[in-house]
Amino acid sequence: MLRPRVILTLFWYLAKNRTINPLLKRRSGQAMIVLVTAIFIINAVEYTQNLYSSPSLLVSMEPFLHSLGLNHVTISLIISAILIAYTIYVLFRGKPIYIPEEIYETVLSQPVDLEEYMLANILETISGPILLLPAFLGLALFGLFMTNDPLRAILFMFGSLIILSAVIIIDTLFTLVRRKTGRKRLFIVLFIGILVASVVHSLVIHGYSPILALPYMPIAYALVAPLATSIEVSQATLSLIIGYSEIIGLALIASFLARRIGIEDLSPKSFYRGKIFEGGKAKIKFGSPSEILYSYLFTGRIFNPKHLGGLIIIMAVSIIAGLAASAYFGVASQINAYFIEFFIPMMTGMALYSLSAQVIAWDLRCYWLYRVYAIDMAPVAAALISRLATYCVGAGLVMLAGLSAYFHDPSMIIITAFYVPGGVIAGAIQLMILSYMASKKQVIRETPAGIYTVEGFTAVMLEIVIIIIFMSISGLAFYLHSISVEALAIGAVISLFTAYPLHRFLRRIVGDMMTYYDILF
């Protein structure tokens, strides 16, 4: 027999711990609320008084998106397809349901039924992101930047959060389906069937198949509708309500399945405490401490067959996608400046930010080891800067390979060179911010889905730094590209030559910061 009072107690304190207290009882959270409110009031005043002189970014981008055959419906279909693919991944993956260790130890040893815990957790999962709204400054700014409309920006923020809730609910629901129903194969066949049928149908009709809409369209549409200028705000609000209704429906099914859960279906996941390097083979290597650290943290991790193979595959996919897009939709007559200078760096920057957060989170697990054994933190800083810069260059290379293929312009690949010093600067600034912020509070946290993320205000700062650097570099590089290939080549050579002295200079500063500040775990 379920006890509502226990469920509500669990929900309330889970929400307090994860979202309410970090915002209301921490100064960074309070500052964020003030900042977000101020930005919205200023923008709302500007909007109501028609102070915007230029059209929104989204309006400027529309012709280009249309040239790619994209509109709000097709973009929703693509997002729906991604969610279908994620469902298949969850069904194939062999993991148990992870829960943070502190919940495992302190909550599950209380007289709480596992179903009660799952229900409270699902409730918190759905409502958590809403309570956390003010922390999503980046999303709010993105929404404003795209639409110039504070109301749409708020709706977009809710829409973005619905995706977060959807991913967590899909993860929970289909992990339960896989472990508890014995119908794993049926669901795999069903979702793969939907995906295959929609691809075949898309090829036949030369467009995006509506079959993709089957399971997740309401959720995907709730994300896209607020940004679509052709959709009224009232309609966008309605689609948001419908999207959240689907989330609640999925949550109810998950709650039903949670009845069959056993204690050993839940696995505690520890993060920092006592962690050392995992999963690697023991190797004996002789050299100076600096060389060993650099090799372990950078060259050994990056330049291995797995990573290089992965990069080649992703580049091949990017090139094929670029060629297919140009064959399918035709090459756009001219490069849309907004698209190049803002949208691509922003999206790449966001992807990179998420990747960096994972990388940094992974390294922080054994940070104590460096602090104890490394005589000097500069080699650690050097290796981490190199690694983040390499990811930056890799992301740029993949993005530019696809663009080169799409525009049939191989010279675009040269732009990658600009990301070398840019990546060094971005990596160094990221590490500086993290060293400083991590000395004040714990900045890496683990989501219920087992993904490591950088927390609130720190995340926003990292995001802004990466996006600004990406935008500046792309802006400069594409400007030179528009002048001539020779100008681009000269700029690329200068970029490459500046990267090394920059790296040497910044690694010392970052190393000193890492030595000076104590990281809190």
Binding site: R3, R5, V6, T9, L10, Y13, K16, N17, R18, N21, P22, K25, R26, E101, E102, I103, Y104, E105, T106, V107, L108, S109, Q110, P111, V112, D113, L114, G262, I263, E264, R273, K441, Q442
Partner: protein, 245 residues
């Protein structure tokens, strides 16, 4: 038939990967005992305590807490115990008071009914001025005291504690022992304590079980165990002799 607060009969547990943690462990704890569970690292102490706390399921054997099984009748069985884990992991963004209210709420108890006891325990552990602090702001030792407070306020029938005094200062250790003794004598609480602090176990526990390789290798009052080993030395030396065979 004798009444036991805790019965563990022929428990076996093998972790994925083949590590055999428990290999036929049998322990019975009577009401009003302070039972010390000692053993070398990897002997199966924490696994045993986690099985009692409903965090792990045994592969084989019977677990009964006041006659209830935490496997089959989880909620009813766990109502009788309080568990202090080995690692002091708590909800870091809750204040001390919020965390204690949370635990009280999960047991469907009223805060007003335990508030005086909470104040007494917080004062005894020197935490009164920290009660509105977030747990993230406290040291490991302080968090340990909060966890012990949370276990003690609910006055369970069985206290299950894994290294409860780890990180505690001497003053808090003294207060802890006094409080547990009081609860045992006045409230009829029973305690099962796993610890490596053999001096503490020798002076504090009324009965001791020595566990090695997942099995109970010796059990009894301290004097009985010493007699069993044939020497009148400290528990530490007796323990080493028994464990080393």
């Amino acid at each position: 038939m004798e009444n036991y607060v805790l019965e563990l009969i022929d428990l076996r547990k093998t972790y994925p990967g083949g590590v055999k943690a428990l290999n036929g462990l049998t322990i019975r704890v009577k009401p009003g005992e302070i039972y010390g569970l000692i053993g070398p690292n990897g002997a199966g102490k924490t696994t045993t305590l986690k099985i009692i706390a409903g965090l792990l399921k045994p592969d084989h054997g019977v677990v009964r807490i006041c006659g209830k099984s935490p496997v089959k009748d989880r909620v009813e069985a766990l109502k009788n115990i309080s568990y202090v884990p080995e690692n002091p992991l708590v909800f870091k963004n809750l204040t001390v008071t919020e965390f204690l209210k949370f635990v009280v709420g999960l047991r469907s108890m009223k805060w007003e009914n335990v508030k005086d006891h909470v104040d007494y325990l917080l004062e005894g552990f020197n935490l009164t001025d920290k009660k509105n602090k977030l747990l993230i702001e406290l040291s490991r030792g302080m968090i340990q005291k909060v966890l012990v407070t949370a276990a003690l306020i609910v006055k369970p029938r069985l206290l299950v504690m894994d290294e409860p005094m780890a990180g505690m200062d001497p003053e808090a250790q003294y207060f802890f022992k006094q409080t547990v003794s009081d609860l045992v004598e006045k409230e009829g609480v029973t305690a099962l304590i796993s610890s490596h602090l053999l001096d503490m176990v020798e002076k504090f526990c009324t009965r001791v079980g020595i566990i090695s390789k997942g099995k109970l290798v010796a059990e009894g009052r301290i004097d009985e165990i010493k007699k069993m080993a044939g020497r009148e030395e400290s528990l530490e030396k007796v323990f080493l002799e028994i464990v080393r065979g």
